[in-house]
Symmetry: C2
Subunit: 374 residues, 2 copies
DNA sequence: TTGCTTTCCGTAAACGCTTTCCGGCCAGTA
DNA sequence: TACTGGCCGGAAAGCGTTTACGGAAAGCAA
């Protein structure tokens, strides 16, 4: 017998039994009213609805989920820095993740799902993510949250979408951004338009597929166009952060070796660090060295010099990820699996081009990410 | 008899019964191992753990939650604009919400909770938020998500924390930012330091307690100091957005009426819109009109002119909100209820002061939000 | 050996809901 | 009046856990 099946007013939060009693029907009827199943007389429905309102009844999620087997929850795991180690620019760089979350949340809502968030601090490969599997119908995992092997394992247990990971064919569904196209466009622009030949590539963490892909695509394209990229052993490598790129660049500057004509970075925050280091050393970008980024975080537009970069549709990444996952969960036959979203070269001042507009101009009516990056 | 109680290998995801059978124990024992309850022989524990590993068993969240009555989930409801109506700056303005989410997520994790996200589009007051109640142990509601009355109602059903709302004593626990202190500091600075006397206040939506509080605090302080603020009927009111403030200011400019010496805005995005409109009209801030904001979104620092504003600890707001909510859920006797977090005046160029640094300078080592805003 | 405690583990009853199966009621027809 | 369908609503079986409750085994003193 259920907790409140006895007599009188139940103590805690009302259950479906309380509603049934109040409306003088069975719990089955209440459930049918709530889920609009089967045949119901209008009068009965109203009576039940009335009782629901009077008792402020809200169905217990877990019970409902357990019974129906459907949780209507999507898990999203992402990387975040330890709380106390976040500088102002680090925070800016989180914009990428934030945008993904936003896109995912919106799409999830559209499909009737909720978003369950789990931040993972890098290196802490506990089973947090695995536990998500039990709480959600499916899981979206951002790049670098899990080693590839564990992704494959997880994908066997639960619908899983890997976001912004390497494009390698895997057990999981991949949704990512066209790194190659973006880097090729940058290489093309720098070589063909500006006539540069000697480049350096500032990489993120070595473990990151995104960084690796970008570096390879860039290097290959530059070589194809007759330029050269300093070998990565020269120390052009950092950790995705502004501070890291700053230090790397400063060290390189003080080594006295000649600088390349352009420094191409795997992310915007790193590009900002490079610009900072150059400025501290009395060099000016783009006059002395050109610099480019990748992401197009909002600050990129407002920096001085404004940053030439590759825009990636971060928010769309989230929403498309959810779409793919829902397709997987609900087993839609025509659902697209792997998706590659387009990137777009954004030419501003840091490569040596004239700044397209004064900072802040063209501020209004720039449209949303989604429509801009199609 | 449970689904997989029959013979042979079960079909779907493994349940606790499968583990029990594999380890040759009862389900109670498995549960005990998983939750480290009661007495267990080491040998038995290992056998169970072994089976768990072999089957890749992950406990079913809902079942666990239903049984124990504890969901270990915190719901977070926030306002967001419709997906297709988001301009680039709107997106920047979401930084506030993003920061709150980040802080909340981190704190939630620290307490062993997950964060369930629900975005609410303004005006759409369906029962989305109510449904959260059934899925979470408690709910954090950001300002403007619900009318005050519904907040009070909800608070009766479920532990609830109201974030950044009006400070009015209510049924719910309030965590908010010291709007009054911030606005008083701005008023003080503009009157005492710059000698301004004639002000306008650009309000957000009228329905917003945050906007109202800021306006009242500012107006009162200015009057106390001998200045005056144009009555709000003069049309200095917008909708929190950059575009809205832009239009309002443009209209006012074209009306030909004399401008105030300073326009104080209830948010940074609106301040940017005002600056934009001034610039379009050939006026220069701060030379012709001073402008200030509220929030200190990252762009504020990099804008031209850099924005004098009030910094609020957004991320901390999220984490403190979670702390308060967990206190409520777990009924900690010594948990603090209402909390007011301090704000901080950030003086930059848009009020007429010399820009503290060139844009981008002092970029590194600025510390995290949390520690900066203590 | 007996009798008690201390460990260890299995049985079974919830938890609150969804859903299937079935039994009744009512109108319509012969 | 008796019978057939179409509708409606109740009883009950799970969903996969946790958690009393109690029984068996093991240890120890008498």
């Amino acid at each position: 017998m259920p907790a409140s099946g006895g007599g009188g007013q139940s103590s805690g939060t009302p259950t479906i039994y309380d509603v049934a009693k109040q409306a003088n029907v069975s719990i089955a009827t209440v459930s049918r009213v709530l889920n609009s199943h089967g045949y119901l007389r209008a009068e009965t429905r109203d009576r039940v609805l009335q009782a629901v309102r009077e008792l402020h009844f809200v169905p217990n999620g877990p019970a409902r989920q357990l019974s129906s087997g459907i949780k209507k929850v999507i898990g999203l795991a992402f990387i975040r820095p330890p709380e106390d180690e976040m500088s102002a620019v680090e925070e800016d760089s989180l914009l990428f993740t934030d945008a993904v979350i936003r896109g995912a949340e919106f799409a999830a809502q559209r499909f009737g799902y909720s978003l369950l968030l789990t931040g993972v601090t890098e290196g802490d490969s506990s089973n947090d993510v695995t536990a998500l599997t039990g709480k959600a119908d499916g899981v979206i995992v951002l790049d670098r949250v899990l080693p590839e092997k564990r992704v494959a394992t997880l994908a066997k247990r639960s619908p899983l979408v890997l976001l912004a990971g390497s494009g390698k064919p895997q057990a999981a569904v991949n949704v990512r951004v066209d790194n190659v196209q973006g880097m090729q466009a940058i290489a093309q622009h720098l070589v063909a338009h500006h006539g540069f030949r000697r480049f350096a590539f500032m990489a993120g963490k070595e473990s990151s597929p995104d960084s690796t892909t970008r570096e390879e695509a860039f290097t290959e394209m530059v070589r194809f166009l007759g330029g050269q990229v300093e070998p990565s052993e020269e120390g052009w490598s950092s950790d995705w952060t502004t501070a890291g790129a700053f230090k790397t660049t400063r060290d390189r500057l003080s080594s006295g070796r000649p600088m390349p004509e352009a420094i191409v970075c795997a992310s915007d925050p790193m590009a900002l660090g490079v610009l900072q280091a150059l400025q501290d050393a009395g060099l000016r970008a783009p006059r002395d060295v050109a610099v480019t980024g990748f992401d197009d975080i909002p600050i990129a537009r407002h920096w001085n010099p404004s940053l030439t970069t590759v825009r990636q549709p971060s928010q769309q990444l989230g929403s498309v990820g959810v779409e793919a996952l829902v397709g997987l969960i609900e087993d839609r036959p025509n659902a697209q699996r792997d998706r590659v979203l387009p990137t777009q070269l954004v030419v501003r001042a840091s490569c040596g081009c004239p700044a397209p507009t004064a900072p802040g101009l063209g501020l209004l009516n720039t449209g949303s990410w989604g429509s801009e990056s199609q």
